[in-house]
């Protein structure tokens, strides 16, 4: 569509193409502005004020960066940020390794491939609430099937409360659930990447006498770079924002050993009704996700 065309009136509408375009895009932009942009700016504003919903008489005085300063001096907040990164990095890294292995298998030709691919998609499509309830029941300290299995094969002498006995136990228990829910996404993205690698590369390598491992390191991994980057960025953003699973599974416990930043922010907002600090905590998370999101969108938009 070249420039002169813009000025051509469209028959029967009296609008130029550009004008019509604006009319079509405005409702969507307004809706997003109202539901996401305005609340976000308001959260930024709130984070610079002291807002205690349970002490309305205090008013909402402007306090500058005091909420942020207080937060960065609060051990519970620093702990939640640390956990957010720990969970995001370790879980996403494991999902990448396991996802790559599964993608390699799904990239082979075998009879039940479509069925296997469908089967691993199902955990991805589950509501996190269902996932959390399901695993909570399997982890149950008395009647849980995982306890029964571990006691059965002699790993445990007696049943334990996987999600409550210690921070370490909760960490590994959450890890299993995270792998279950999110590895499928990783595997599907990487499979798409694998399928995009020209087979001639492998044939050429075979002629040169390269084995499986050489082919993996020299062809597969370099060729997969784009898919891996997309998957890693998307999963990291999602892992940092994640709320539902831990909110239902552990509520941050035992103690604060699984209380990631989204849970802590939510508690500050809706349990402690401290909208100033809750907003500041949410803003810290937002800055991290925005930085990652900008890179992510650049990456998915460049290769056209």
């Amino acid at each position: 569509m070249t420039a002169p065309r813009r000025r051509v009136r469209i028959k029967g509408q009296g609008l130029s193409r550009t004008e019509l375009g604006i009319v079509l895009i405005v409702p969507s932009v307004l809706l997003i502005a109202l539901v996401s942009v305005y609340p976000f700016i308001r959260t930024l504003w709130n984070s610079l004020h002291s807002i205690r919903l349970n002490v309305p008489a205090m008013g909402q005085p402007f306090v500058g960066f005091k909420n942020y300063v207080t937060l960065f001096g609060t051990e519970r907040f620093l702990n939640s940020i640390m956990l957010t990164f720990l969970f995001a990095i370790t879980f996403v890294a494991l999902q990448l390794v396991l996802g790559l292995a599964i993608a390699q298998v799904l990239n082979m030709k075998f009879k039940l491939r479509a069925l296997v691919r469908a089967a691993i998609l199902i955990p991805w499509a589950m509501a996190l609430v269902i996932t959390a309830i399901l695993w909570q029941w399997m982890y149950n300290a008395v009647f849980g099937v995982i306890n029964a299995m571990f006691v059965g094969i002699g790993v445990l002498k007696s049943p334990i409360d996987f999600l409550g006995v210690s921070g370490l136990s909760a960490y590994f228990s959450v890890m299993a659930v995270e792998l279950w829910q999110n590895t499928p996404f990783m595997a599907i993205i990487l499979l798409a990447g694998l399928q995009g690698i020209p087979t001639e590369l492998y044939e050429a390598a075979k002629i040169d006498g390269a084995g499986r491992w050489v082919a993996l390191w020299r062809i597969t991994i370099p060729q997969l770079k784009h898919a891996v980057l997309v998957a890693l960025l998307f999963r990291s953003i999602d892992a940092i924002r994640a709320f539902d699973l831990l909110f239902v599974l552990t509520q941050g416990g035992p103690g604060t050993s699984t209380e990631v930043a989204s849970l802590y922010s939510y508690k500050l907002l809706f349990t402690f009704l401290d909208f100033g600090r809750g907003s500041a905590s949410a803003m810290v998370m937002a800055v991290i996700t925005i930085a990652l999101a900008v890179v992510y969108i650049k990456v998915i938009s460049t290769k056209d």
Binding site: I102, I122, I189, R241, D244, I300
Partner: protein, 287 residues
């Protein structure tokens, strides 16, 4: 004899350590991904006595279906399912209409700054829920629509719009503009061109978006949990959470309830696998 040689050859060719490893790995991850569903289903059909048996029965015996009757007749769970369905259907329909129109504008109608707009809304859509939930609650409260299905439809539509706009506009761009140009010369307005030419050519992309929006709004929890407070409005993820009593968690009912709401999603995934995979891999597949 020839057949035996063929079979032996086949075995020797196939039965190497690498293939065994692959098969073993495949079975292991399939067990990992599918066992929880087996356990969910078999918990739902256990008798109350068998629910608390140590160790639990791997194969429930006898099978007891009373929980499915109970959750439909003795609880408000059917209302929650209906709410989820209404919200997901309306969100999908509205979000799809908005995104088709705005994507067409972005892809074809020389809107100034449309790339920047798309970039910004995409970044916005990746913000953590907690960074907008408080003020959004107040927006809906002041508008008098907090604790209604409407406020969730509005919120979900806005949340899923950016991805739909990005996905559809990049799909529309792959359609050669010659077709539309020819139609325009024949007197088609741009909107007619959209309906008669672009949309019919984009059915797979539209179907993918439809799936993604439906599954995402069907599963959403954080905003539903925060914005709804009555049994009449609650969606099923919130309804499931409300099943849990203070002291006693009815695991059987929870599993039965989640089987009921997971089944349609499982069927969707099995039937529309191809479209869902296209939606998931859109970013990774470019180039």
């Amino acid at each position: 004899m020839a057949a035996a040689t063929g079979f032996r050859y086949w075995i020797r060719k196939r039965l190497n350590p690498f293939n065994l490893l692959v098969v073993f790995f495949c079975l292991a991850f399939m067990a990992f991904f599918l066992f929880p569903f087996y356990w969910q289903l078999t918990t739902a059909v256990r008798t109350s006595a068998n629910l608390t048996r140590i160790p639990p029965q791997m194969f429930p015996n006898p099978i007891d279906l009373h929980r499915f009757i109970y959750i439909f007749q003795g609880t408000t769970f059917p209302v929650s399912i209906r709410n989820s369905l209404i919200i997901a259907v309306f969100t999908t329909a509205i979000c799809l209409s908005f995104s088709v129109l705005s994507s067409y504008a972005i892809a074809r109608l020389n809107v100034p700054g449309s790339k920047v707009i798309l970039f910004i809304v995409l970044v916005i859509s990746m913000l953590p829920g907690v960074s907008i939930i408080g003020p959004l609650y107040l927006v809906f409260k002041n508008a008098g629509i907090i604790n209604t299905r409407l406020c969730l439809v509005i919120a979900y539509t806005a949340f899923f719009l950016p991805f739909a706009m990005w996905f559809l506009s990049s799909f529309f761009r792959t359609i050669p503009p010659d077709l539309e140009e020819a139609a325009t010369i024949d007197g088609c307005t741009p909107l007619q061109a959209l309906v008669k030419i672009i949309l019919p050519l984009s059915t797979p992309a539209v179907f993918t978006i439809l799936m993604m929006i439906f599954i995402n709004s069907w599963n959403e929890f954080l905003f539903a949990f925060t914005f709804t407070s009555s049994d009449q409005i609650r969606t099923y993820p919130v309804g499931l959470i409300m099943f849990r009593g203070l002291w006693n968690v009815p695991w059987g009912d929870l599993c039965a309830g989640s089987v009921v709401v997971a089944t349609p999603i499982v069927l969707l995934v099995l039937l529309a696998q191809r479209y869902i995979i296209q939606g998931l891999t859109a970013g990774a597949m470019k180039g």
